[in-house]
Symmetry: C4
Subunit: 189 residues, 4 copies
Amino acid sequence: VSDASSPHPPSAISRARLEVLFDGIFAIAMTLLVLELKVPDLADRHSVQELATALRHDGPTFGSYLLSFWMLGMLWYRHNQMYRHIERISRRMLVLQLFQLALAAFFPFCAGLEGRYPMNPLALVVYSGCITLYGWTSLLYWTVAWRVGAIRPELGRAEYLALRQRNIRGVIVLTGICGYSLYMMASRA
Amino acid sequence: VSDASSPHPPSAISRARLEVLFDGIFAIAMTLLVLELKVPDLADRHSVQELATALRHDGPTFGSYLLSFWMLGMLWYRHNQMYRHIERISRRMLVLQLFQLALAAFFPFCAGLEGRYPMNPLALVVYSGCITLYGWTSLLYWTVAWRVGAIRPELGRAEYLALRQRNIRGVIVLTGICGYSLYMMASRA
Amino acid sequence: VSDASSPHPPSAISRARLEVLFDGIFAIAMTLLVLELKVPDLADRHSVQELATALRHDGPTFGSYLLSFWMLGMLWYRHNQMYRHIERISRRMLVLQLFQLALAAFFPFCAGLEGRYPMNPLALVVYSGCITLYGWTSLLYWTVAWRVGAIRPELGRAEYLALRQRNIRGVIVLTGICGYSLYMMASRA
Amino acid sequence: VSDASSPHPPSAISRARLEVLFDGIFAIAMTLLVLELKVPDLADRHSVQELATALRHDGPTFGSYLLSFWMLGMLWYRHNQMYRHIERISRRMLVLQLFQLALAAFFPFCAGLEGRYPMNPLALVVYSGCITLYGWTSLLYWTVAWRVGAIRPELGRAEYLALRQRNIRGVIVLTGICGYSLYMMASRA
């Protein structure tokens, strides 16, 4: 509430440090994705065929790795696009940002689940649900930032709305995927 | 002792680099929390119900994950609030800071313990004990910083005391929780 | 396509932040390499000989660790050499960069595979294939950067070509090693 | 060789980026130390006594954790002390620096070994050997930096020698500990 009382209250947190925390958590989450890929145990250590079979068997996990790396990369890119217009961070914005980071750090678990059980609809629900929740939080963050006047004055209302529109489109797609996977799961059970 | 002899001895360490180390360790600790969440082993890879049961069974670990992420986020935020008033870092302050970082890096272990044994009072003692110790160290850090004149002159004595007061309040709450969990443990044994 | 339409379109991403993500992912990948080295289980905890045997048995993994650390260090160094001439990052360049980072983050898995199965030709194919792909992407990145005018104007065409030439030489060596390991694998099967 | 030919050749690498890589690897190595501490498996999830016994049993690992965190913190601090006088980084210096980082990233493995087998003299040899090697590399780095003129001109010869002297003293202590542990191991076998 107090955020909106004055046009320029001090930033709750240093912009630069939140950036470092954000980039750090994304870098770590992206690198931890690979920990789901386990070096297989082979009976014959020299057998090309056995190793090939083991790696092929982990195929979905590799696919999930690449997809998830790309996903986190995109979320990181989108965050950059918006964050450059943010001038200061209110407390409410910090709370939303921390929640986004918790979802990003949680993502390697979702990727591991999806990579191991690609045919289990619940795994897809968890996976898409995590990104969808991230997308909604991102949209809320942007809206709150505008309302409390935390966006650089150079950004006009039209540009704000255009960026918001793009965000909404993304959220709709994500929610659609999440809803579809929920439907698939329900029709299976 | 020598810290207080001159009003402006050189900083023991570059402020910016300690910041990077601090933010880095917090980012990693926050992301490592998720490693306690293990992808469950399923008998039937396609079974929604089996996966749902397994995830529900990990419920306390998920709760502990979110709580612990929030905790570390708050400690990080509080550190920011104080650190922006610090001008230089004395050796004694560096020692305290490293001890704080050791506790923060130790936190994922506490969170794993609490998530796996939520009903075991000793797990809560370890968990709350780690944060309480962090809080006390933080209070000591702030007090030492004032005494050795490491705080920016812009910050008046009243503001210093107000921030210290808030710190003390936090430490009292934490010590209370820790004491209560010790009491619960003692009454159980 | 739109990248080339104007000589100075805005950068798709902040140069500084991509740098932090890049350095972060490399730092993490380099440190995660060590996770492949496991503390051995000993029957007699005090036996020097048993521990020595266990560590000697992990010899190839230690060798793979050092080699891989050096490899990532070199890739990081090479990236630095080129990146200092980059002025802005187009979207296509960002995509290539993310792909490079996915390969770098994937590298600890390759190192673990190679360390555990040093005599298995497929392990070497995966290992050298990952670096070779990285090298090709790096070359493509540099070429695209020149074409879309993302390189600092201070760098003349001759210098660009010289750096490109060095890159091509590296890629040829890597492709040779990769091809040789493929040949070795084929001749075995 | 070419490093010494000109008094001011360009830096092989951006000073700031090497700093980020250095701080990043140290932050990660310090946080990975905790991964050696495993949440114990309990027969009775509610038993305070069983958990207490399990944690007490891990006592040496906790001790090793704290000691190793402190060690890495000190190495990091010492690096800072010297690095602030470095103006540019030659290629030979970069190679030494990467070797130092490989040893730092290797340190969590040594700490895990020492924590699990505190009574095994070989574990202490590996542990102290890793730090001793780091110390020698650091001394070599500093000496090379002086010889190739990579140190800021503000630092006089006397100050250089004083810092070097302190470095030598540290290396002598470390080599002594390492030699003693080697002697203990030899007298046991």
